[in-house]
Symmetry: C2
Subunit: 334 residues, 2 copies
């Protein structure tokens, strides 16, 4: 199979970029100096960028190129979900080695496009460059939201409830299992756990349904780790948080923690990029929120309350002790 060194940059771009793809709102797509898009006049533009680096954000022995592409897309989609935005258009910057096989790179790009497409977004442009070090993918995802209706991290008010989708902590546990128990992690019993890390689910549709209830006052996605992201939400809103629990009962995570000689809360409190939604809720709309989330078959757990005690993150007795430092993933210290 040919490598980039053999085919060159321009042939690689020809294979990677699908020109002439018709996508809603696209006036000029890939192949010009820039892409041109048309937004509805009653919508705000929402933009996020996220980079994945080989060996850090993905382990080649655990993910196919298509899964890597899909996961980068999911990370960006998760940021838009946390703003209640609808994904529309993406720009994809690839930095790869000259010995990269072109077919693998095309597979990665197609995996990325597939997940974006399933969530309503299309690739409208990109960039391809060579590196000698690790490969990386940087995706900028653009979306839109009804004018003035984007969720932010800063809207939580004392008395609001805190709720989370899915099972935070699983992605971090899966990563550790893969790193420390490579052979064992491939067993069928860990498949669901590994999926939480390799193939996280999009929360875009869920965010749309939640937004329609009008019950969400603030939101953030769990991409650093639950405790770290709770702290981010509290800091941005200038509030405190009183946590009754750190998630739904999760026998799978309990089993994984036991197998790794850790406690379940070690994973819920530590770094874990689960791409779940962490939201503050108007308590009067709790039921309508629970209804729409569960209608999509997604776990949704009220885990705490917002307090006026700015900066204080308290855990109810028996839940464990909050680590003194925000224990998110730190790229430069890990």
């Amino acid at each position: 199979m040919p490598r980039l060194r053999e085919v060159g940059e321009f042939e690689a771009i020809r294979r990677l970029a699908r020109r002439g793809v018709e996508a809603p709102g696209v006036v000029v797509g890939s192949g010009d100096d820039a892409a041109v898009m048309r937004l509805d006049p009653d919508r705000d533009l929402v933009a996020t960028t996220d980079a994945f680096v080989e060996g850090r954000h993905w382990l080649a022995e655990w993910m196919t190129p298509a899964e890597v592409g899909a996961r980068v897309a999911l990370a960006n989609l998760s940021d838009l979900a946390a703003m209640a935005a609808v994904p529309r258009w993406a720009l994809v910057a690839l930095a790869v080695r000259a010995d990269q096989e072109l077919d693998e790179l095309v597979e990665l790009e197609r995996g990325l496009e597939r997940v974006l497409g399933a969530n309503g977004a299309a690739v409208v442009g990109g960039n391809l460059t060579a590196v000698a070090g690790e490969s990386s993918i940087t995706v900028t995802l653009l979306g839109d939201v009804e004018r003035g209706r984007a969720w932010t991290r800063s809207g939580a008010r004392p008395g609001d409830l805190i709720a989370v989708t899915g099972h935070p902590g699983r992605a971090g546990a899966a990563l550790r299992l893969a790193r420390e128990r490579a052979a064992e992690a491939r067993a069928a019993e860990w498949r669901e756990l590994l999926d939480a890390w390799i193939r996280p689910e999009s929360r875009v549709a869920l965010a749309g349904a939640l937004a329609a209830t009008g019950g969400v006052t603030a939101a953030i996605d769990v991409s650093d780790g639950l405790i770290a992201d709770l702290r981010h939400l509290a800091a941005a809103s200038g509030v405190g948080l009183e946590m009754e629990r750190l998630g739904a009962d999760d026998p799978l995570l309990e089993r994984a923690a036991a197998a790794l000689g850790a406690g379940v809360d070690d994973f819920r409190m530590g770094p874990s990029d689960d791409y779940e939604l962490l939201v503050a809720l108007d308590p009067g709309r709790r039921e309508s929120c629970e209804l729409v989330v569960r209608a999509q078959g997604v776990p949704f757990t009220v885990i705490g309350t917002v307090t006026g005690d700015a900066g204080r993150l308290a855990l109810a007795r028996g839940v464990g002790r909050v680590p003194p430092e925000p224990k998110g993933y730190d790229h430069f210290r890990s």
Copy 2:
């Protein structure tokens, strides 16, 4: 001076991202899951992304961190200029080593912000990650343009004129001088040449003035090299090009070529990321176009004509011979 390993990711982001900066059209800036912006309803959105890699797109011994940041900004601004778009908002993804000095990174970011700011754009978001290999910066620049009025590469029609700003070829000559004659290249006589490579000028204001004349039928920026970009323009428009010359008289480039034992057209035909504007003009508006460009003190040279002979790039006798292959810069073969 502290390195990223010492201060960690979150402190670095705190220093790099300016939260709460008020910029026109920004509803939610840096610090949330995504940025939210408001576009005027009569404008189209324009988006481009460009990545610079250490050692490839910049040589640390020739550029200060602020100059590196400025040049990345200019590369992106050049893409928007080629669409006649007004720059508005940028997202900046940095991938750096843990031993990177934080102060240098902040200097780079400030250099980038300064050039963006001078061209009307503000940073609204970004990403910071660690790499073990070369550092890189990926900028996504968003702008807007009057609805339906973006320039493209595909609008050139037989009979149009081809014109170029500035002195294409200088950036490529400067890079070669720096690589091959390091000490000599630092002499005062090469300062203007080196500036064409290190500190290219923004053509954003120029593009705006040119757009107002209504005389431009197609545009591309010279970022690969004049011949390569002429080919891109011709291919996108489905036309041929008959070139009378490859640029204005350029004694500086002639001197540089002589010093390097090359011909001036070697640089005009070879890879050179000059970030100049290459445009097709309605011949009836030639004079008004020339007027507005020269009013800004920028050289503007009509270098050829568009023909109906699709795919044919011909050079007038005495101009030299067109290389058989598009001689742009190829990242994977250089």
